[in-house]
Amino acid sequence: MSAMPGIVAINTFREAVRDRVLYNLVLFALMMIGAAILVGQISIGIERLVIVNLGLSAISIFGLVMAIFIGVGLVYKEMEKRTLYTLLAKPIRRSEFLVGKYGGLLLTLVVNTSFMALGLAAALYYVGRPFVHADAWIPVAIYFILLQLALVTALALFFSCFSSPMLSALFTLGIYVTGVFGSDIREFGEFAKSPPIKVATRIVYYVVPNFHNFNVIGVVAHGEAIPVSLIWQNTLYAVLYVTLVLVAASAVFARRNLK
């Protein structure tokens, strides 16, 4: 396997690490987790539920913000700033560049999510409650959040190959929201009398990634177990979907003329 994507990924990660905005976001997320402690303290008897719920939601929301707002600029920024000129003159395929950019942002998200997860663990520890068996599902919920972020990053990168950051962010966010409510949209279609609406909602359900299945925050907060089959299913689904989106992005970017 070519080492080229790895070289680009490490540089993308370095760019993110040196970007102060990122630190602000992580700090803000950690503050949110801290706030969860306060809210937890006034929620007599349901401290764990509140802290886990708010903490995982903070990780998910801030991860999403990072994935979208860094992701939409991944390729666009390189084209606008013309840093791509010297890079693509090197012996690197455009697809390798894309995979490298994607890998770099994913690595950034994994590191940031890990920091936020540590913040959540610290919050749970701080409220003086010993870790219980049900807490073992919290890392799984975080893993699902990362799978979601991997999907969102791939979509943001795809749009970044041919549209402006603003439009890319709108498209990505639109697909995310649609994906979260995919099942509801399909149900709405089934109730609708109009056949075209039925067909359209089914298409949306099957084409747009189903983010609903990745959201187990409520389940984990209530201390319930996550079926192992769902872990496999979500992993496979995310890997396949990300691969498809990256292939599509490569196809779009392969013949793109740089300004």
């Binding site: 080492a3 070289i7 000129y85 010297t86 090197k90 395929r93 003329n257």
Partner: protein
């Protein structure tokens, strides 16, 4: 016969323009050109002539509408071609959060050097372009000239046999320009092919084995700088001083006054007749020299005629 370093055949590039009603604008029109191995080749033309478009096509940053090009026998579509080339874009932009050392290290990684070799190369090329003392400064703090130097270093860092430089002297002070000229001379001495675009004609005259002139996307002529200059009709330049209190005779009124001296440019055929007139009015002749048209004159003439390609020069094109 050895393979040319660069072979360009009928390369054409159209860009869509307009928002609602897209129409195509031709940026490069049927360019055919060959550059020999080891040659320093200058690509001249005004802004918008198609120089940068050609370089972007050759480096795979944009794709031709029609035509083909090969570098050292490899098609420009082939990613392996990129191992053979180095490229400095016009007004290069780099990752400004990196230091010069990190930037070169990053680019060197694409050439599969060992860590030791990579570090040694980075240090050597930082020194070569005069950035050793600024090696650990972030590029966002670099001046335009320093960025240009970093750009040149990354273009030649992996010893490519063919080097494309887009306006390499741009943004450099006279010392910087001299250093870049020296680098290009060194590259030539090492047997590398250098293809560079410029509008600084004196640099092209000094450095190039051959030059091509491009205007409005069309090739106007190709040849050695001295060949191009020698085809021009020569004129003679006379510097003289008039005796004190003596006015310039009407026959010499075309002469231009430069302080106490006068300068007169006459066709070669009229030289002796003019000298006779100067002697008659007891002028002191300071110098008589042929006016050798510069590449600049040629360039301006070609650009002025861009709508009517110069057939006289076609024979010069290889």
């Amino acid at each position: 016969m050895s393979t040319p370093a660069i072979e360009i055949a009928a390369l054409t590039k159209d860009y869509p323009v307009g928002f609602w009603r897209k129409r195509m604008r031709r940026s490069l029109d049927n360019l055919t050109l060959e550059v020999a191995d080891g040659e320093v080749f200058g690509f001249l033309g005004p802004n918008g002539a198609g120089k940068t478009t050609t370089l972007k096509l050759l480096t795979g940053l944009i794709f031709p509408t029609s035509g083909t090009a090969r570098v050292r026998g490899r098609s420009i579509d082939d990613v392996r071609m990129h191992r053979e080339i180095g490229y400095l874009p016009e007004q290069p932009y780099f990752y400004d959060y990196l230091t010069a050392r990190e930037l070169l290290d990053y680019y060197a990684r694409f050439s599969n050097y060992s860590a030791t070799e990579r570090r040694a190369r980075v240090e050597r090329f930082l020194g070569l372009v005069g950035l050793a003392s600024a090696a650990d400064v972030q590029l966002r703090k670099f001046s335009k000239g320093m960025l240009q130097r970093a750009g040149i270093a990354q273009a030649i860092l992996h010893d490519p046999p063919v080097v494309f430089l887009d306006e390499p002297m741009s943004g450099l002070d006279p010392i910087g320009r001299r250093e870049v000229r020296d680098i290009i001379h060194d590259l030539k001495r090492q047997g590398r092919t250098v293809f560079f675009s410029t509008h600084i004609l004196s640099d092209a005259e000094m450095l190039c084995d051959r030059v091509a002139v491009l205007a409005a996307g069309k090739l106007q002529g190709v040849g050695a700088p001295n060949e191009i200059v020698s085809i021009e009709v020569a004129a003679m330049e006379i510097f003289f001083e008039m005796p004190e209190g003596r006015a310039l005779p009407a026959a010499l009124s075309r002469a231009e006054a430069i302080g106490a001296r006068h300068r007169l440019e006459v066709p070669e055929a009229e030289l002796y007749c003019t000298l006779d007139k100067l002697r008659e009015c007891e002028a002191r002749i300071l110098s008589v020299s042929p006016v050798r048209p510069t590449l600049e004159d040629y360039f301006i003439r070609m650009v002025g005629k861009e709508k009517a390609p110069v057939h006289a020069l076609e024979g010069m094109a290889r």
